[in-house]
Structures are given as structure tokens and as C-alpha cells.
Amino acid sequence: MRETKYWALNLLAGLLILVLLAQHMAVMQLDGWLEKWLADWIPPLSWPGLVERGTNLIQMVSYVLLLGLGLFHGFYGLNKILAEFIQGDQKRRIIRLGCTVMGILLFVVGTTVTVGFYLVNG
């Protein structure tokens, strides 16, 4: 049953990534279009724009969420793909452990940067 939970979470993560990625893409890619509608629009790639996003609590949380969900979705998929090529439960456990450790490490690094920026500049 544990596998079913991971798999269901993987599906849910995929759906949430769509929403969060759409928001991220809108902010980053539709700047020219949004500029016409928002009076106080700051270009997203400029330093003030980056600071504004990094010090916004909602933006910070959404980036941490996107990072966590993206890493889980990606490493769960990678683990499944690698499991196709590797025979033996022992080796598969090692692969799974490796994916989990890598995912957690990257999440910690990403979260430290995002939350740290928010705390220092916010």
C-alpha cells in the first residue's frame, strides 16, 4: 500500500506542478504583456524584480512548493525508470535510497537559498 501512496502523491504532484509552473511561467515569460495591465510592474529579470519576488511570502512559499513537488515527481520517475534496468531488490533499494538522498539534498539547498533570501531581505 505504501507504493500506492507514493504513486498517488506522484500524480498529485504532477497536477500541482502544472499550476505552479503556469504561475512561474506567467511571471517570467509574460512580462511584456503583463506590463500593459499592471501599473507598478517590475521586469522579472531585473534585480529589483528578483528582490520583489524573493521577499514576497506567497512567492517564496510557491517556489519552495514547486521545488519540493518537482524534485519528488522527478526523482520518483527516475527511480522507476532506473528500476526497469536493474535486476534485484537489493540494487533497487540502493537506487531508491540514492534518489531519496539526492532529492532531499537538493531540496535543502534550494530551500536554504529561497528562505534565506526571504529572511535576509524581507
Binding site: 505504501r2 500506492t4 498517488a8 500524480l11 526497469e84 535486476q87 533497487r92
Partner: protein, 266 residues
């Protein structure tokens, strides 16, 4: 139509020896199946050739083998429907081989047994017949046509890389019973279905459905199983029942009535 000659290329396997290909020219005629061809080889050319068969009409599922790279039933495959004049025959992939074209199906049946392929009674009165509406029957009918020939197991790429994967046949059987309105065994089956070597490992290549000689569509059953397990996890799974109780319905006029008892009951 005159007879044509087709070369049967058979992969021979003897325990303890390396596999070798052997060729047999066979005179074929319209209506002749691959199984007929094998029978002709055994009678006229090589009595040592081994394969398994029984009904010769696509019902028993005994003569499953890989025909020109595609798993199927030898009795169900017309020789002249194969465009190639050389027919290669191999034992079903993803199974240990007993001899020549005879696979050892025991691993498949062990997995089949593990998903409890039988009706598990729920809460109903002991003496009441288990009634089922035509709609409830349609829910699982397609999946009950499985003849356990093993063609889907041989075609499954996941099973090729993970021998512990349950495989399309047992998973289809699990869905067949889960969808049966008379069954209440989902909670017992979901333990093995939620295992690492089970449905989450299927990545929907759908080769199983392509090769199934009975049109069962195991890939579809697995997708239904995935949906049921996720819905069950979040508490939204709908039980297939309830079993309709009470009146069995109005008898149809076009069905003759049963004859009267000739011996009167006391």
C-alpha cells in the same frame, strides 16, 4: 489452391544444453494453423519436437508461443495469414522453458494465486442467491474471457526487466474480481496490488492488449485498478454492489417455460 511450402524455424531447447534453431519445410494449405504445422512436423519429420496443446480452438490457452516475434496461440494463427514464408517459433518469453516450445507457467499461476482469484463473500444472507444485473455483469465480463495462455505476460516489457512484477494476467484477474458485484475482497487484494512489483510499475506499453488472443485488454484493466487504488486511498472508491435483491425480474415471453414436473411432489 495448390499447397505451398513454408519453413518452420523452431527454437529447440533441451535442459542443460544451449538453445538451437532447427528448420522444417512444411507443405501448407488454406485453413492450416501453426499448430497443424507443428503436428505435421511431429508426425512426418521429428517426433522429438515438444509443445503443449489441448483444445485446438483457442479456448484452453495451452499452445501459447512466440510466432514470428509476437506472442499468440498456435491454434489461432493461420499459416497463410503470415506474409513471411519463414515462420519462427519460440517458447513464450519471460517464462522459464521446460523443453522446446513448452514454457513453465508455474510462476504465472503462483502470481495469479497471490491475488486471490475467486469470489470473496461479503455481507449477505447465507442462503440468498447472489443476484447480478446485466449492467453489473458488463462491468467485468470482458476481463473474464482470459484463458491464462500467458501471451500478455510474454509481451510485457516490465515483466522482462522485473521478474517479480505481477504481470498483466494476474492484474486483470484481480480487476475482474474487484469489479464483480458479488465480491467483497478488494481490501484483501489491495495489499498485493499496492506492492512495488505491482500496478505502479506498469508504464502502459499496452503490448499485453495488443497480443491478447481473446481481446481481454489487460492494459485497460490495469488502468482501472490504478484508478480504484487511488480512489480507495482517498476514500472515494465506489463499491461495485449492492447486489439487487428481491424480484428476479419479469420473465421474457420469448423464452419457453420449463416443463411441468412429471413426478408430482408429495
Amino acid at each position: 489452391m495448390t499447397d505451398q511450402t513454408v519453413t518452420f524455424r523452431v527454437r529447440r531447447h533441451q535442459p542443460g544444453q544451449e538453445d538451437a534453431w532447427q528448420e522444417y519445410p512444411v507443405a501448407v494449405h488454406p485453413g492450416m494453423t501453426v499448430l497443424d504445422g507443428l503436428q505435421q512436423i511431429k508426425e512426418q519429420q521429428d517426433s522429438s519436437l515438444a509443445w503443449r496443446h489441448s483444445c485446438r480452438m483457442g479456448i484452453c490457452g495451452s499452445c501459447g508461443m512466440v510466432i514470428n516475434g509476437q506472442p499468440g496461440l498456435a491454434c489461432n494463427t493461420q499459416v497463410l495469414d503470415i506474409s513471411d514464408r519463414r515462420i519462427s517459433l519460440e517458447p513464450l518469453s519471460n517464462f522459464p522453458v521446460a523443453r522446446d516450445l513448452v514454457p513453465d507457467l508455474e510462476p504465472m499461476f503462483d502470481k495469479h494465486r497471490s491475488i486471490k482469484p475467486f469470489l470473496i463473500a461479503g455481507q449477505q444472507d447465507g442462503d440468498e442467491p447472489l443476484r447480478q444485473s446485466p449492467r453489473q455483469l458488463t462491468d467485468y465480463l470482458q476481463f473474464s474471457y482470459c484463458i491464462k495462455c500467458g501471451a500478455c505476460m510474454a509481451a510485457c516489457p516490465t515483466l522482462a526487466s522485473d521478474a517479480d512484477f505481477l504481470g498483466p494476467m494476474p492484474l486483470t484477474a484481480a480487476h475482474r474480481y474487484n469489479r464483480d458485484s458479488r465480491d467483497d475482497g478488494f481490501d484483501q487484494r489491495k495489499q498485493s496490488l499496492g506492492d512495488h512489483h505491482s500496478i505502479s510499475h506498469c508504464h502502459y506499453a499496452a503490448e499485453c492488449s495488443k497480443v491478447c488472443p481473446k481481446g481481454v485488454d489487460p492494459a485497460k484493466a490495469i488502468q482501472y485498478l490504478k484508478r480504484d487504488l487511488v480512489l480507495d486511498l482517498v476514500g472515494l472508491r465506489r463499491r461495485p454492489g449492492p447486489v439487487p435483491q428481491g424480484s428476479p425480474g419479469t420473465p421474457r415471453d420469448d423464452i419457453p417455460k420449463a416443463p411441468e414436473f412429471t413426478v408430482k411432489k408429495p
